[in-house]
Symmetry: C2
């Protein structure tokens, strides 16, 4: 089977064996933003045409490829939802004769105030990372960080923060960026930002304090990006880590993983790093036993 985690800005493709093992993997920057309307079949052929030519007959896709801007909209399924719920709701898209292509739907939820939540792709990664466990708290760092609560093998609910996008906008387009050199690193300045997030006053006040610390020479240009990152991730962790700590399974890849791990530890929790191929395992799990006819 072919498994593809096809997001906004990139696609990660796997060729899986019958038992779900990864035989080949490849990644491309051709996310859905870079595929023209009507161009998804051709893009899939570009991406994994050689695997299809070699005999693969099934492709299972997750992520933004199932959004309104993707290949075909796969309507959100409400929480709670397990792998079986997703499997029952796969959306077929037309492709070559003899080759079945299915899209996994995303999940929706709502917080206590009734404000909606959505995700596409992260649910598959969580099921891939869950393994044999039945419960856990998962965090998927990113532009829109996701905190996902799993109970009895199903995703019971989740919470999203605009953490990564807010960092980029604040760094790139406010006075804070002018005092910064370099990229965030998981060190002392990052920790100080995480601790600051626990102070009263709120995020907007803490953001101005970043500027004021720089003005008084208490935050060097080489430290400021790390401090700001710690502040934002610290707020994200503070709102989502249960009081008293607990274990957080981090799912994803890239430099944000080390930063989140450090912020969780600094906040009294225990972070575990998942591997970068959780999507492949989740897609294998959902694809197995699905209706492929």
């Amino acid at each position: 089977m072919i498994a593809i985690d096809w997001g906004t800005s990139s696609a990660r493709a796997y060729r899986l064996g019958p038992d779900g093992t990864i035989r080949e993997r490849r990644e491309t920057g051709r996310g859905i933003l870079h595929v023209p309307p009507g161009g998804f079949a051709a893009a899939l052929w570009d991406l994994v045409g050689d695997w299809i030519a070699a005999g693969e007959r099934r492709a299972l896709l997750s992520g933004m490829v199932g959004s309104r801007q993707g290949w075909q909209e796969a309507p959100y399924r409400p929480c709670p939802a397990g792998p079986g719920d997703l499997r029952a709701a796969l959306v077929a898209v037309p492709f070559e004769p003899g080759v079945s292509v299915r899209i996994v739907p995303g999940l929706s939820d709502a917080d206590a105030a009734g404000v909606p939540e959505v995700m596409r792709g992260e649910e598959v990664q969580v099921f891939g990372a869950l393994g044999l466990r039945e419960a856990g708290l998962f965090c998927l760092p990113g532009s829109h960080s996701k905190w996902v609560r799993v109970r009895e093998g199903r995703i019971g609910g989740f919470t999203t923060g605009l953490t990564g996008e807010a960092f980029a906008a604040l760094r790139g387009h406010t006075i804070l960026g002018r005092m910064m050199e370099g990229e965030p690193e998981p060190g002392e300045a990052f920790d100080a930002g995480v601790r600051r997030a626990r102070d009263p006053g709120g995020l907007l006040h803490h953001l101005f304090g970043t500027r004021a610390l720089g003005l008084f020479g208490r935050l060097a240009p080489a430290e400021a990006a790390s401090y700001l990152s710690g502040l934002l991730i610290g707020h994200d962790v503070r709102e989502n880590l249960p009081k008293g700590g607990g274990i957080v399974d981090l799912v994803g890849s890239g430099p944000l993983m080390a930063l989140y791990a450090r912020a969780v530890a600094e906040s009294g929790g225990e972070a575990r790093l998942g591997d970068a191929d959780a999507a492949a395992r989740g897609l294998a799990l959902i694809g197995e036993g699905a209706e492929w006819a």
Copy 2:
């Protein structure tokens, strides 16, 4: 006397009578960012040279003109500070013979965690708006909003939020901006944002919710900028309005004043609108009795 509130992006100049009444006023976009190093004397001459030629011999300046990037640095005075403390710390700058030019220093403070606070210009506006009162809570909306606590006629402390700059960065440079048309208005969508700020979950989560509400058609493009503004100003008010409400004196001008007034009212406080010339009255108060020799 000439009184000038000289900020980063604009300068507001007043010609005052001996009793502090405003005889003339003018405003220019020539903030300190638009004055080259060493060019402040010439800029002052451009701005109010006709008033000097007509016999004015004293000019009192407040705002960022006293910063490191301004005409001459006037070191911050710590809180608590009253008009007399500022008057005793005026900084003289060289100008034409026979004409005295003085800069009012800004104020510094620190929050409970020891993180510094700074302001330049707002302290003068607060003293101008205070009138005969001895105490009050003042809010000065802006890119960096200030909440200023006055006790026994002196500024006891203050708190800054990066509220306005965060709004501009989030609107201009995140996915939120793509769902927005028009400018924030003090209406129902703004109120909904203010109420949302009181929900649990934190600002980063509330920001993503703005996106999700739009995705589900529950926030129209024409409402979204107002909702986002309400969310940010709501967080600002939530952190700074005393529990149980109370009176907030708003000082400043422009469309933010109506938005803050509405947010304070929606949050259970009572907002009073000050006039736009508080700086002139504050400078008159400080200039009166100062050492001009």
